[in-house]
Symmetry: C2
Subunit: 453 residues, 2 copies
């Protein structure tokens, strides 16, 4: 009996072998796609479905690629020939919301934005806010250890998950972590699963740490600077001033001009870079005033609004970056992260790399936390070697500045060749051995993350 026949016998009509589904599972939002179609997509509805799938995969030694909404940017959920796609997108329930304990228990397939819409009714929220929040699942956010715009003030996924339930490669179900604020019973396997990109097990449930909705007004500022370096210095001055914005985004000149063009707005001044900053909470207005002064002193042309709708409109310019880039060609979105003080130097490095490789690299940055997204634009589906060479240069520059090659998108298949560079051979090997403890046969997402080829 073939693997697909075994799956169909065990799981019936949740096994999907339509051309459309198999084709869709080859790619994520990175633009990259696998070498060919996978065997089948399993649309799991329950933990038992996941367990049955993994048992068959183990018995038949068949690789499994776990997939949520397919919005990843590193190819971790791209499935190829001979592989089973295990989709948890239909496991999208909210099992429990506890306002008093500030926790929610959810299934992995729920969209981040759908969860937060429901939580808002209870005056609470789950802080991780990747730019993809409207279309990405909580399970995917956990698998990548997602970040977002609010991280400097409100943390990343790692800070907002108390426990996960995972199905191991052999089909066993484990409950990791806890429901209490504190808990140090044994090793912190919850954190190990966060960001493990489908290599350790299948996340089938999560206990999330919530926050009360932030009270009070929000204020939004924009500040235009004559150069990207000046804008980066402006953001560093804000951080150094001791005021903690909720959001602090930086757009370089090419990004800003592209988005303005895409949205039909008047063209910004040539070379102008922009900071967009939001403050919230009880001190929002005072903090915004203080930031405005800091930015003016740093040479910025500052506008400040306390109007929520106007604030959203200003932030929408930053949020349109991905769409604007897509109009220019195929995009390889990079994701280096550096200590905040190194932002100006990292922009210098990007300028150097643009010149060296004859590329334009529109870049936005979560300036509040030092995470940059340089966008490499090219024609056609394949990343040209020149772009990879430039990306290689970029990664090495980030590591040299005390940074890391991925702040929030993950390694997937696109960055696995640089992983050992950053971790060192000893740590790389140790990490791979840990993966083997969870998955001795190596059937979970082979060829991703720890693939050196």
């Amino acid at each position: 009996m073939t693997v697909v026949a075994a799956l169909q016998e065990a799981l019936g009509d949740i096994i999907d072998v339509t051309e459309e589904s198999l084709e869709a599972a080859r790619a994520d939002r990175s633009g990259h796609r696998s070498a060919g179609r996978p065997l089948a997509v399993v649309h799991a509805r329950t933990t038992a479905d996941v367990q049955r799938t993994m048992r068959i995969a183990t018995e038949t030694r068949t690789p499994v690629v776990v997939r949520g909404a397919g919005t990843g940017l590193a190819g971790a959920a791209n499935a190829g020939p001979g592989e089973i796609v295990l989709s948890t997108a239909r496991m999208d329930g909210i099992l429990e919301i506890r306002r008093d304990d500030l926790i929610a228990v959810v299934e992995p397939g729920i969209l981040n934005a759908d969860l937060n819409a429901r939580l808002a009714e209870e005056d609470v929220w789950w802080a991780p806010d990747p730019a993809s929040r409207d279309i990405s699942t909580v399970g995917g956010n956990i698998a990548t250890g997602a970040g977002g715009l609010l991280c400097a003030k409100y943390g990343v996924v790692r800070d907002a998950v108390l426990g996960v339930d995972i199905v191991l490669a052999d089909g066993r179900l484990l409950h990791l972590g806890h429901r209490s604020v504190k808990g140090v019973t044994g090793l912190d396997l919850t954190s190990l699963v966060i960001g493990s990109e489908g290599t350790l097990g299948v996340v089938v449930g999560a206990t999330l740490k919530l926050r009360r909705l932030v009270r009070g007004e929000t204020c939004t500022l924009t500040a235009l600077f004559p150069s990207v370096r000046a804008a980066a210095a402006g953001s560093a001055a804000v951080t150094a001033s001791g005021v903690q914005p909720a959001i602090m985004e930086l757009m370089d000149a090419t990004s800003l001009a592209s988005v303005h063009r895409h949205l039909g707005l008047p063209a910004p001044l040539l070379g102008a870079s922009q900071l967009t900053i939001r403050t919230d909470g009880p001190a929002a207005a005072a903090e915004a005033e203080s930031i405005a002064q800091t930015l003016q002193a740093a040479g910025g042309e500052v506008a400040l609004t306390r109007d929520a709708a106007e604030g959203e409109r200003l932030l929408a310019i930053r949020r349109s970056m991905h769409a604007a880039m897509a109009t220019l060609g195929t995009t390889l979105i990079e994701d280096v992260s550096v200590p905040r003080s190194a932002l100006p130097e990292m922009f210098d490095e990007i300028t150097r790399i643009e010149a060296r490789y004859g590329l334009t690299i529109p870049t936005v940055a979560h300036a509040g936390d030092g995470n940059l997204h340089p966008n490499f634009i090219f024609e056609g589906p394949e990343v040209p070697e020149r772009v990879w060479a430039a990306a290689d240069d970029l990664f090495r520059a980030a590591i040299r500045l005390g940074g890391t090659l991925t702040g929030e998108h993950g390694i997937g298949m696109l960055k696995s060749r640089w992983l050992a560079e950053e971790l060192g051979d000893d740590q790389w090997e140790l990490q791979r051995q840990i993966v083997r403890v969870f998955d001795p046969l190596g059937i979970l997402n082979p060829g991703k993350v720890f693939d050196r080829a």
Copy 2:
């Protein structure tokens, strides 16, 4: 050549075999002590010292117990016959403080309070504040995944460490984690090391995530309630109101009376339990007013002060708990943690256990995060079987209520027999296999955490 001779040859006068040092290394602050004296204490001054020690330990298959200030409460750093004690207490440097990046790089032996005194000069702080902060090391805080009083608002150690440097059992040095706010390159081994209680490697350095000192005034409230259940309900009402105190501590009647007696204060009303609450930040005064109303509505007798010195005096009552207990006999301090809403039920369970085993169990709780410290008091150095039976009942009650058997003290040797109960056999075995990846010979802290005997 004996192990001690090999250490002396390689490391000279940092090898300490004085009776006093060997005797001291048998015990921590749990009151528990090992079966006999260890071989030697290595007072490491450098990472190279640690590496040399571990190489000799590996060559000779000699167990190593890593030790900081010895203030643990679960026996994890207690060393016995045939073991090397590797002390990192003298590696107490601050290598770097970056106000702009909000990070500090430190050696493990620095005391939490000493670090924070130095950081305060730069207008920053490291948030983890175990009650032992004046006498416990940052390395020990990391090894146990320590918590403290401020956790509900400002997080635990896991939330405040970006990277650790560890020496493996075989002497190799690994740099785990990163210096940037975000980073998802590979598995999160930093989190795995936090709370691993000396079983994975020797922490020789840490990159800590700092916060700006909180501006504005602090307000302190006390609220007296006629019963511990009423006080627990009062704290639940505060949490439910959506206001986040910096500190919210609960003392039951026996605790409160003992501390008053110890400090020479007038005796509180019979049966009276107390909440001590602090608010801070720009909304401190408004939050304190709101909390006062909530507590009054819940039947509390409330006092509020905006005077810092008076606030410290009120909080000193809570901070004197450990000293007051020590005057009553030998103490076994337990550390269960439950979801906040389960606090009243957990106190009911403690009352039931007191009656069933004929014990008085003075209990304080970090009510803001659901972490309770029931104190078992007895005569002599050995924990009586009746106390263990009561502790067993307590752990099972906490787990039944969705909690965990240790919120911040760790498993060590005192709770290893309950670890599999909470984790389940499959997860226990998986965790032990992960430990073996780091330490294949099993020479790091054998008999602790994962010992089932």
